[in-house]
């Protein structure tokens, strides 16, 4: 399976093979079970994912026959999509010249003061609502003090005591390809959601023993989501991140481009024996992709277990994930505990939001942020879409998940179903998931670059649904179009005479011909080698140039052979 898509979609590529297998075993076509089982003209390679080199089991035995349990808690920083920064009105675009998007306040020039950006508060509230958090009607800002070259003021403005929102929950599905686990549902509780400033960037120049500081990123708005340590392993964490990204992208509050640093995931990892208290945790940073979330955490769990089993101890430290060597390495020395000396930010009075549709507080002259108003503006969330797909259209949860994961696919699906309500949703889904993606994969094209508009795909669905063509033909049509043929599917079928042969008498003829032309195979079959049936079927397909309705062929051929066996 060629990995086509950018990192953010990698979970999908793991899921695909598993789903392919499942798809074939589920009754997606209007054929009977027997036929589907026998008809496997495409071989699916069993895919070994890199994660399977690490254990995907959360429990495993050590020599002393006791179980290790691992505990993972995530801290995610998401850059809010806004035009200007959190406390200053400098711009936020990525990739501008060094120190171009820096205002006096961002550089901590003396005498400058913070000014809060309304959009950032709205984004925070929207996200909090989507994650079922309790929004605090009054929240405060605090200063978190530490020295670093990318922090000009010597402190970061964050929300420590009373953040914007607290106590939410994120529900997501965990797929583990290559493992025996069935996909399952998992929840992670959100302790708090807070608004805070991002720091600048230091480029380390090892040779000259110095750091070059770029403050473009200083002051960019972040939402920090602090999750409870209620995950068990890397896969759960990766799945959580994937779901979160879907939600944030739907809301438009974060671009989630991990490669640009718009979404940063830190993981707190610890292990302990079952029944014993939690172990010392380490913090893993520098995770650059969803895939790396899984890898890094799994590695760290493994490392901690190895250390403990060898009699060592785990130090409470920060470790960085090194994607090249695929291991975590110690980062900042945290031997001496940092005391951040949190202090309320005196330059920012309390932040008030209106919870209900109540009138504004007196002494204020600007529109308040109205939470109810924002709640009404919430778009449909991924979980709601998945539920709608399964409930309304009857497609499987796994297929629904794949569609929701890929917005382009989802849009195709909606277009196809909207165009003609009578179309079979399951069939449509399969065309999208299996046929479309496969051919794009082969041609190394992304979904965005796909040459198939929705109505073309819809036409193919119609042709299949009406049994005018079979699946092999459908693939041939796709191949035609992608090679540059600008005709519509129906036109292609017309031109090449690819209509499916469904006429029973015709098929009779074909089957008879097959039996007559392959006496040896027939003999083998009658003597008990049932496997050669497939070859006979294959011959029939060949004769008809793959145009025969294979289900019918199988039916007829089986009957004929039975007659021969039992005259």
């Amino acid at each position: 399976m060629i990995l086509l898509y950018s990192e953010g979609k990698s979970v999908f590529t793991f899921a695909l093979p598993a789903l392919l297998i499942r798809a074939w075993t589920c009754r997606n076509f209007s054929v009977n079970n027997n036929d589907a089982k026998h008809f496997l003209s495409r071989k699916v390679k069993s895919y070994v994912s890199p994660t399977s080199t690490y254990t995907t089991e959360t429990k495993f035995k050590n020599k002393k026959q006791s179980y290790w349990k691992s505990v993972v808690g995530l801290e995610i920083h998401a850059q809010i999509t806004s035009t200007s920064k959190l406390f200053s009105q400098a711009g936020t675009e990525f990739g501008v010249p060094v120190n171009a998007n820096v205002s006096f306040f961002d550089a901590a020039i003396p005498g400058t003061l913070p000014m809060l950006n309304r959009r950032c508060v709205e984004a925070g509230v929207l996200t909090a609502l989507a994650l079922s958090c309790r929004v605090n009607p009054v929240s405060f800002f605090d200063r978190k003090h530490y020295f670093y070259s990318d922090l000009p003021a010597g402190y970061q403005i964050t929300q420590h005591r009373v953040p914007l929102a607290q106590e939410g929950v994120l529900e997501f599905h965990v797929f583990t390809p290559g493992s025996h686990h069935k996909p399952y549902s998992k929840k992670s509780c959100i302790k708090q959601l807070q608004l805070e400033q991002d720091s600048g960037k230091s480029l380390h120049d090892e040779e000259a023993c110095r750091s070059l500081v770029d403050l473009n990123r200083a002051g960019i708005p972040l939402m920090e989501l602090v999750f409870e340590p209620d995950l068990e392993d890397g896969e759960e964490a990766a799945a959580l991140v994937k779901e979160l990204m879907l939600i944030l992208q739907r809301l438009g509050t974060c671009s989630c481009k991990m490669e640009e640093g718009a979404l940063r995931v830190d993981a707190n990892v610890s292990v302990h024996h079952e029944g014993e208290p939690l172990g010392v945790r380490t913090e893993v940073k520098n995770i650059g992709s969803v895939r790396a979330v899984g890898h890094a955490i799994q590695y760290e769990i493994h490392r901690q277990v190895k250390v403990l089993e060898a009699g060592g101890v785990i130090i409470n430290e920060t470790r960085a994930w090194d994607a090249d060597s695929k291991q975590t390495v110690p980062m900042r020395d945290k031997e001496e505990k940092q005391d951040y000396r949190y202090m309320p930010e005196p330059n920012l009075p309390p932040l008030r939001v209106l919870l209900n549709d109540q009138p504004a507080v007196p002494n204020t002259y600007r529109d308040h942020i109205n939470v109810q108003c924002l709640r009404r503006k919430l778009p449909e969330l991924p979980s709601e879409t998945r539920a709608k797909l399964t409930n309304k259209y009857g497609i499987s949860p796994e297929s629904a998940a794949i569609l929701v994961n890929e917005n382009v696919l989802l849009q195709h699906f909606y277009d196809i179903m909207e165009e003609k309500k009578s179309r079979d949703p399951k069939l449509s889904t399969n065309i999208l998931i299996m046929e479309l993606l496969t051919i794009l994969n082969k041609k190394k094209l992304s979904l965005e670059a796909s040459p198939f508009p929705s109505h073309t795909l819809g036409e193919i669905v119609d042709l299949l649904q009406s049994e005018k063509i079979n699946l092999v033909t459908a693939r041939k049509i796709l191949q035609e179009i992608i090679s540059g043929n600008s005709m519509s599917p129906s036109e292609v079928v017309e031109k090449y005479e690819w209509t499916q042969i469904t006429n029973p008498s015709e098929i009779e003829k074909v089957c008879t011909a097959v039996i007559e032309q392959n006496p040896k195979l027939v003999e083998q079959f009658c003597s008990g080698k049932t496997k050669v049936f497939n070859s006979l079927v294959g011959k029939a397909a060949k004769i008809t140039e793959n145009r025969a309705n294979m289900a019918t062929v199988v039916q007829v051929l089986t009957a004929k052979l039975r007659k021969i066996q039992n005259p």
Binding site: A108, M343, P349
Partner: protein, 542 residues
């Protein structure tokens, strides 16, 4: 001319009797003449002359911007002035040229005022004497050796003139300046740049000492100071000028390099209460760039109507008599209370029981905010930078040790101590609670019908330099700020006005405090008292 009020000089300009350039020249000359008082860190001669010329044109064309147009003013050296060094009297910012103007500075400029110079102050506004400055201490004009006359008014015109020779008092032994200096908290390893003058002069008060002397001496007609614990009122009291601390949130702090963000206010120093109102009207108002300014629209003050003093209720908080208060100050306090009573005002004693804790509470909040606000001084983006390049920690430590004086360093260390997780609830959080108690003292007074509170501003008249530096900065502030500090805790407006002269010939002043955003009542009462006591104007001999 230079002893006139803003109102008076403004009228002369309007009438065409004089032109701004002439006023500017006279002020610059005065400033130069008084160089040994060390009022200014920097005289902005070119800027002033340029602004004055532009004002000339405006007066000729008749499009005068405000009452302040063409009038020389000065600002304390912690206000950011574009491309003009703003040092905060510290090595750390010795060469710092801000790329922008503070909002209040911009407002003065927009009103047509002429910026004469940046005034000396205590380093980073930490101090109550204007002695801890890399530029050297500022001397009080009163009893400084400069010759001046005192003019009194009855009504509007000066009718009686007392010739007073201001001269050094021979009281006390002479102490050599160099010997004295090592007792001060300024520990500059290279040695101080002290003037080699002998004689023991009187301090100007602090931390806005330069601004106060600038106004008192006639070098400017008005000045900006800053007030966190009394830094505008204290020097105003010692220098015999009007010092107004407006309500917190009324004036923008954008561009005012902060000491304690939750208490700092720009302070106004003028010779008359009317002038203070004029300045306030120009400077007050919501500023988008400062989130701690109130959004209510500001109604300009109008003090033209005389107040009916018999309808005013004056509160005398008994806790303001604190140990160390001189008899003279007590008499002054009592005297004004008498005048008010006789004029029909209701004078009552009130209790503000948490006043004695205010100074200790302030010390905690001040030091904690200082520790936080000073964290940005690392030499990377601006300010002093030493040659240390082994690591960021070494660079920061070395820069900060060299850039800050002992007082500043001490406050940073103490502040960080109080902010440590283990200490936070006992000191910082406790201080915030005590702050509420202090603020509640004020609200109780207002709700019992008090319009203004009358208290002393300082404990004595201006101390001598030798006496002042015999105690360290922290101890000095603790006693000096006693009466002025609570108003900052509560955010209330307060004004100090000179009442009379002490036996030493130094000004004695009293303080009025009012309800938040009720500067109208506060200044009206202040104006009444000002008229009643007729404090002599100081006019330097040319």
């Amino acid at each position: 001319m230079l002893s006139l009020s803003v109102r008076q000089i403004s009228r002369k300009l309007q009438d065409g009797v004089i032109v701004p350039s002439d006023v500017c020249t006279a002020c610059l000359y005065q400033a130069e003449k008084l160089k040994k008082l060390n009022i200014f860190v920097r005289l902005t001669k070119e800027v002033a002359e340029h602004q004055a010329k532009e004002s000339d044109v405006r007066y000729t064309n008749g499009n005068v911007r405000s009452l302040l147009d063409g009038i020389p003013v000065a600002v304390k050296d912690n206000y950011c002035t574009r491309n003009i060094e703003t040092t905060c009297s510290s090595r750390m910012l010795e060469s710092f040229k801000p790329p922008y103007n503070a909002t209040v500075v911009q407002k003065l400029q927009d009103a047509g005022a002429v910026l004469l110079g940046k005034c000396n102050m205590d380093e980073f506004a930490m101090g109550s004497g204007t002695v801890d400055s890399i530029h050297g201490p500022t001397k009080n004009i009163w009893q400084s050796g400069e010759k001046y006359t005192l003019l009194r008014n009855v009504g509007e015109r000066a009718t009686s003139v007392e010739q007073v020779q201001g001269c050094n008092s021979t009281h006390g032994s002479k102490m050599v300046y160099q010997e004295l200096h090592h007792l001060s908290s300024h520990s500059n390893k290279e040695g101080s740049s002290s003037p080699s003058e002998e004689g023991d002069w009187f301090i100007a008060g602090g931390s806005s000492g330069g601004s106060a002397v600038a106004v008192a001496s006639g070098a400017v007609f008005a000045a900006l100071g800053s007030d966190t614990g009394g830094s505008t009122r204290n020097p105003a009291a010692y220098c015999g000028v009007v010092g107004l601390k407006p309500s917190y949130g009324l004036l923008s702090r954008h561009g005012l390099i902060p000491l304690v963000n939750s208490m700092d206010v720009p302070g106004i120093l003028t010779r008359t209460v009317d002038d203070a109102a004029t300045l306030l009207n120009i400077l007050a108002g919501h500023d988008l760039l400062d989130s701690t300014t109130v959004q209510d629209s500001f109604i300009p003050l109008d003090l033209s109507q005389d107040i009916d003093i018999s309808r005013i209720r004056i509160g005398i908080p008994k806790e303001y008599n604190c140990p160390g208060m001189s008899d003279e100050v007590m008499e002054t306090w009592s005297g004004v209370a008498d005048i008010l009573e006789r004029a029909g005002a209701e004078v009552v004693q009130v209790s503000m029981p948490h006043t004695p804790s205010s100074i200790a509470c302030y010390s905690v909040l001040n030091q904690c905010e200082v520790a936080s606000n000073m964290a940005r001084y690392d030499g990377i983006e601006f300010g002093l930078r030493t040659a240390e390049n082994r690591s960021t920690e070494e660079l920061y430590a070395s820069t900060r040790s060299q850039g800050f004086n002992e007082t500043v360093r001490g406050r940073i260390l103490a502040g960080n101590y109080f902010l440590l997780q283990r200490n936070y609830p006992h000191y910082f959080l406790q201080a915030l609670k005590v702050r509420r108690l202090i603020a509640q003292d004020f609200t109780h007074a207002w709700s019992s019908g008090i319009d203004v509170l009358l208290t002393p501003t300082t404990l004595t008249d201006a101390p001598r330099y030798s006496q002042f530096i015999s105690r360290d900065n922290r101890e000095q502030c603790a006693s000096q700020d006693y009466c002025t500090q609570p108003a900052n805790m509560a955010g209330c407006p307060a004004v100090t006005l000179p009442i009379k002269l002490s036996k030493q010939g130094l000004p004695l002043s009293l303080q009025l405090m009012g309800q938040s955003y009720r500067e109208d009542v506060l200044l009206a009462v202040a104006k009444w008292i000002e008229t009643a006591v007729d404090f002599p104007r100081l006019q330097l001999e040319t």
